[in-house]
Amino acid sequence: MSELVAVLGVPHNPLLKRAMEAGIDEDLRATHENFQDFRGRLEDARPDVLIMVGSDHFRKFFYDNSPAFMIGKASRFQGTHPNEIRTFGLDPMEVPGDVEMATSLLGTEYLNSDSIDFGFSNEWLIDHGWTVPLWFLRPQYDIPIVPIHSNTNMPPLPGPRRFAALGQYLRETIATDGADKRVAIIATGHLATDIGGPRQFLGGDSPDPEFDADAVAWMASGDIDVAIEGCQFDRLASAGNVTLQFLNLLVGLAAANRAPDFAEGTASRFAPGPFFYWDMKDQS
């Protein structure tokens, strides 16, 4: 059986890279330090594979083809899309994929999961939802990944219970997969964030500070049912038009199944970012 050694919840704001390359100003320092800290913790956890749960931003999965949950099953993944290179200044990158782990999660004949009907992709140009967390957390791009896409952008979405089920499924499958790997899960999403709406780019202010405080408290409680109850669609949508990506962080909480060792909504030049960490070594 494999071992879940770490669970991380992080932001993936693509504007951070260009801003930080220009220097770590005071309004970026806390975000920088959190990513540095998480990078070290991930290194210490010595994972063999990173299962990365995020949401494609209309680049790969669009309104003509929108799965609820999609597992990337390929021996390598390249990033990112031309418009993200142009607009955000992101670099093209490549990272190996873990086909064995992806197959374990999917199955080979019928789908293994009784709770989620996964789609799969054998070729997937990943976007900043995966490349930015990797750039911060493992810039060597040397640990194989299994990317999992969730639809949090194009309603109707899978509900919060499905995200919790995904986390539970990952935990249980990792523990019984017959492999002998050290596994880290990286979930990425937003706290209250507005992109393309009236409350975007508020100079570091949150479009909904009350939501941020509530959301961090749900996570810090370690109680997945509290978090599920909090994630009513209208509540998330009213906190900003892409706040629904917070749902991905429920995967991390459900996979860890306990209160995080670190939980913070970190203020920055942009909307506050979510940082959660669970050290899972020697938990089994």
Partner: protein, 114 residues
């Protein structure tokens, strides 16, 4: 009227530098070509899409407020408008952001489900 077709158009333009240049160099011509192509669409990957006259005018005229009010997805709309104004026309981002917010704010938060 179709939010899907508006979103598809904007993602196509923002998707590649070639499409962005082509659109910016002749916006009305590009929109006309897009609509015309949908009628001669080659399966299984249709190019182009059906757009009402209001939608064509809003896209060719870069009428951000109108597109937002129509229920364009805000993430897609922002990046489409930004690509045209900032990446292509060289507008400073703070100026773009100010104008963008002025355009969308009167409309609140329209439903953008397709």
């Amino acid at each position: 009227m179709s939010r899907f077709d508006i979103n598809k158009f904007m993602m196509f333009v923002d998707g590649t530098t070639e499409a962005l240049n082509e659109f910016c160099n002749d916006r009305e011509g590009f929109v006309a070509g897009w609509v015309g192509a949908a009628e001669e669409s080659v399966r299984p990957v249709p190019y182009g899409g059906s757009l009402s006259s209001d939608e064509q005018a809003a896209l060719a005229g870069l009428d951000v407020g109108k597109l937002y009010e129509m229920g364009a997805h805000p993430y897609i709309l922002l990046h489409f408008a930004r690509a045209v104004e900032v990446d292509f026309n060289g507008v400073a981002f703070p100026d773009f952001d100010r104008a963008y917010k002025e355009a969308v704010t009167p409309h609140g938060y329209p439903n953008f489900a397709t």
